[in-house]
């Protein structure tokens, strides 16, 4: 069995290497892609959509249908993680707290009143580590800058590399950084799983809804030029703004799916302790 596997891999590798030589050279001006497809985008992007970054206009406008389903794939990944990993919430019988100044551990029974989780009373989980003030304050300090940069990446995708996917991932990474430096309970208290799920669906809805709005205004699906009367601009600028709306939807979906996957993955579906 092992031999068959190795033979298959070897054969596939040889075939790949042999046929990779048949590809056009890197940057070959006579390759089919460079003679038929690319020139259209290079010549018409600015006139069609008023977006200097061609990649963004191809992704969100010319090939908007693809990107919509990519966003749906991301949502599906989040849902798959949820359905595979999430466990029903259990009633906690006993909770342990540590009173940090004295080092005393307190056990609170089922009906007892638990103190607030603070720097004085720290909740003890199965894996308790002392809270490090340097890590916590540094990541707190970094978070706003990461989020501002993410918003810049989303909003500036028309002019520079970036867009909804990258910006959304960076936004999600900021929240994941908070979850790693603090703990999962604090993060879930701030952004609940329900709101992450709703936001991820809302992002896809914004994308598909923009397309549907174009249909309602009597044009093709995702033809943002139809939004011109609503946005109060001409058709070219409407396509530019339509790309931005769609990118915001993508960013929202990607951000919340990243958070959602992290919640389920880091706590094995229990969503109590986490990494």
């Amino acid at each position: 069995m092992k031999l068959i596997g190795k033979m298959t891999i070897l054969l596939c590798g040889i075939l790949l290497i042999v046929f990779a030589n048949k590809f056009p050279e890197f940057g070959d001006p006579h390759s089919p892609a460079s003679t038929h497809l690319s020139p259209y985008y290079i010549e018409h992007t600015m006139a069609d959509t008023a977006v200097p970054n061609m990649v963004t206009s191809v992704l969100a406008d010319y090939r908007g249908y693809d990107t919509m389903f990519e966003t749906t794939v991301i949502l599906t990944a989040g849902l798959a993680c949820f359905f595979l990993l999430r466990l029903p919430e259990e009633e906690e019988k006993e909770i342990y707290f540590r009173h940090v100044p004295t080092g005393v551990t307190i056990r609170i029974e089922e009906c007892g009143a638990a103190p607030e989780d603070s720097d004085v009373f720290q909740r003890i989980d199965a894996q308790w580590v002392p809270r490090d003030i340097i890590i916590r304050s540094t990541s707190r300090l970094l978070m706003p800058f990461i989020q501002i940069f993410a918003l810049y990446v989303v909003a500036h995708g028309h002019h520079s590399p970036g867009g909804g996917f990258q910006g959304g991932v960076i936004l999600g990474a900021a929240v994941i950084l908070f979850a790693i430096s603090h703990n999962l309970r604090t993060t879930v208290a701030k952004i609940s799983e329900t709101s992450a799920a709703i936001m991820s669906a809302a992002g896809v809805f914004i994308y598909a809804g923009t397309g549907a709005l174009c249909v309602m205004l009597g044009e093709n699906f995702l033809n943002y030029g139809a939004l011109a009367p609503l946005l109060g601009t001409d058709r070219v600028m409407a396509r530019s703004h339509g790309i931005l709306i769609v990118e915001i939807g993508v960013a929202l979906a990607v951000m919340s799916v990243m958070i959602w996957i992290y919640y389920n993955l880091s706590s094995a579906g229990k969503q109590d302790e986490g990494l």
Partner: protein, 81 residues
Amino acid sequence: MIWQLDLIILVLVIVCAIAAINVKDLLSAAILLGAYSFLLCLLWAIMGAVDVAFTEATVGAGVSTVFCVSAVFHTTRRTTD
């Protein structure tokens, strides 16, 4: 495109990929996969595909490494099966 730089990064990519498969420790494999993604991101940037490089850096090297590490966190050294 500087071919010497290209060659060094390509060799490092292959080394990282083989090491990530062969290494015994799962955490090291996750980190090596992150290093692999970063090197691949450099390759995309050299080829002029800046958007792809950006996506590779954020998704491949950033978040998926975190996901891998958080999944490895729930494994044990010895299997309980």
